[in-house]
Symmetry: C2
Subunit: 245 residues, 2 copies
C-alpha cells in the first residue's frame, strides 16, 4: 500500500487533492465537503469536487443541481455551481432513483474514469467525497489518486468515532497525511431559547483527536439551515471550519 506507487494517475493542473472520509455514513461528510468547497471559492481559490461515494452519490443534491455534465470527444466537462466544478457518479444516473448495484472492481473503474476523464483545468483544490467504510473505493482513491491530504469527519458518538478511527488508520496505512478531524453535529442550540442540547453525546471528537495525535479542526453545531441544504435550499456555508490559508 502507500502513495506514489506504480499506478498513480497524473495530477494534471491540480495543486492539492484532499480526500474526505468518515468511515461511518451520515455524519455529515458530504455536507462538510460541499460547504468547504464553497468557502474556499469565496477565498478566491479554484475548487473541484469529485463525488466518489458511488453507493450514495449525494453531492448533486447538496449543491441543489440537476444539471447534466456534457462531454466533448475526449473529456467530461464538469458541471459548475456556486463556482465549484463538480463531477459525481450521481450526475451520470440522475433523475432515476434506480439503484446502482456495484461489485468491487466496477467501483474502482468508475472512480478512476471520473478522475481521469473529467476536464478539471487549473484547480487549487480537488476535494474527494469518499463513501462510508474502508473498501474498494477507499483503496482505489488511496492507491491510484495522487492525494496530498486526508480529512476525517466524525460525530461525537462512540459508534462514529470508532468507525472514524478505523478510517483514520486506513489513511495512515495508505501513507496519506491526515490534516485533522472535524467533529460535526457537536450540539444543538435551540434558535429560540439558546439552550444547548448535546443530542449525540459530547467529547468524542476531542478524545479521538487526542488518541490519534491529530488536530481537531472544528466542531460544527447542528443547524436547521445546514440540514435544509439539499432539501432544495442553497448550501449554508458553515463559518469556514478550517482555514487552508
Amino acid at each position: 500500500i502507500g502513495m506514489g506507487g506504480p499506478h498513480v494517475l497524473p495530477k494534471g493542473e491540480i495543486k492539492n487533492i484532499i480526500a474526505i472520509g468518515s468511515g461511518k455514513g451520515g455524519v455529515g461528510k458530504s455536507t462538510v465537503v460541499t460547504n468547504l468547497a464553497i468557502a474556499l471559492v469565496k477565498q478566491g481559490q479554484k475548487v473541484g469536487v469529485l463525488d466518489a461515494d458511488v453507493l450514495g452519490p449525494n453531492i448533486p443534491v447538496m449543491f441543489n443541481t440537476n444539471q447534466h455534465p456534457v462531454g466533448d470527444d475526449k473529456y467530461i466537462i464538469p458541471i459548475e455551481k456556486y463556482g465549484v466544478k463538480i463531477i459525481s457518479i450521481g450526475v451520470l444516473t440522475q433523475g432515476t432513483n434506480e439503484p446502482i448495484v456495484w461489485r468491487g472492481p466496477m467501483i474502482s473503474n468508475a472512480i478512476q474514469q471520473l478522475y481521469t476523464m473529467t476536464k478539471w483545468g487549473e484547480l487549487d483544490f480537488l476535494l474527494i467525497d469518499l463513501p462510508p467504510g474502508t473498501s474498494d473505493a477507499m483503496l482505489t482513491v488511496g492507491q491510484s489518486l495522487p492525494l496530498n491530504y486526508g480529512l476525517v469527519v466524525t460525530m461525537p458518538a462512540k459508534v462514529s468515532t470508532d468507525d472514524a478511527t478505523r478510517f483514520y488508520k486506513t489513511f495512515e496505512k495508505l501513507e496519506v497525511p491526515v490534516m485533522g478531524i472535524i467533529e460535526n453535529m457537536s450540539f444543538f442550540k435551540a434558535p429560540d431559547t439558546g439552550t444547548v442540547y448535546p443530542i449525540f453525546g459530547e467529547g468524542g471528537g476531542t478524545i479521538m483527536a487526542k488518541n490519534m495525535n491529530a488536530p481537531l479542526l472544528a466542531q460544527i453545531p447542528i443547524d436547521q439551515k445546514v440540514s435544509s441544504c439539499g432539501n432544495e435550499q442553497a448550501p449554508v456555508v458553515i463559518a469556514d471550519p478550517t482555514s487552508f490559508a
Copy 2:
C-alpha cells in the same frame, strides 16, 4: 437475481429472517435493529441479530458488550445480551480499532460464514443489519440468505430518502417483500420546554411511503436517551415502533 435461487442457504430452525437496510449510513439503522430486537424479546420472541455491516460493525457497541463469541469444534456460539443472540464481524475483531479493508468477494464470504457457522438454535426472528449502499453485502444477503422480509429505515431529509428509495428498489429487484418504512429522527422535542424542532426536515418518510406504495410503520423522534445507547448505556427500547404481532 431473486429469492430462492440455486444457492440459497438453509434456514435451519429460524422462522423469520428480516433484512434491515437504509442505503444511506447514519440514519439509525443499527439503533432500530437493536431496539427492535429487544422489543421482540420483551414480547417473548426468540431473537437473533446478524451484523452484516462489515464496513462498520456497530452492533456490539449498541448492545454495550465486549464479550467474545466462543466456538466449539464446528460452530460459533453467538454472544447473548438482553436475551438477544448476536454475531457480528465486529466481535471477531473487537478491541482493535484496526481497519478491515475488504474487497468485494471477501465481504460476501464473511457474511455467508457468519450466517452458516453460527449456532442460532430455534429463533422466531433473525434480524440482519445491512451495511450502507447497494453492493456486495446487499447482493449476498439478498441472493443467498432465505429472507422473509425487508425493512427500510430513513431520515426525513431528501438525501436520505433518495438513498433509501434506491435501496428499496434493490429489495424489489431481489424479490424481497418489504414490510414498510421507518422514519427515524423525525423531530427533536426539547426535554425542558417541549418545543418541537424539525432538525432534519420533515415529511420525507411520508412522501417516500406514498411513492413506494408502502406503509410508514413509525416515526421515531430524536432522543438523547437513544443516542446515549452505544455511549456506554443500555439501549433504550423505543416504544415498540412496529408490531410484529
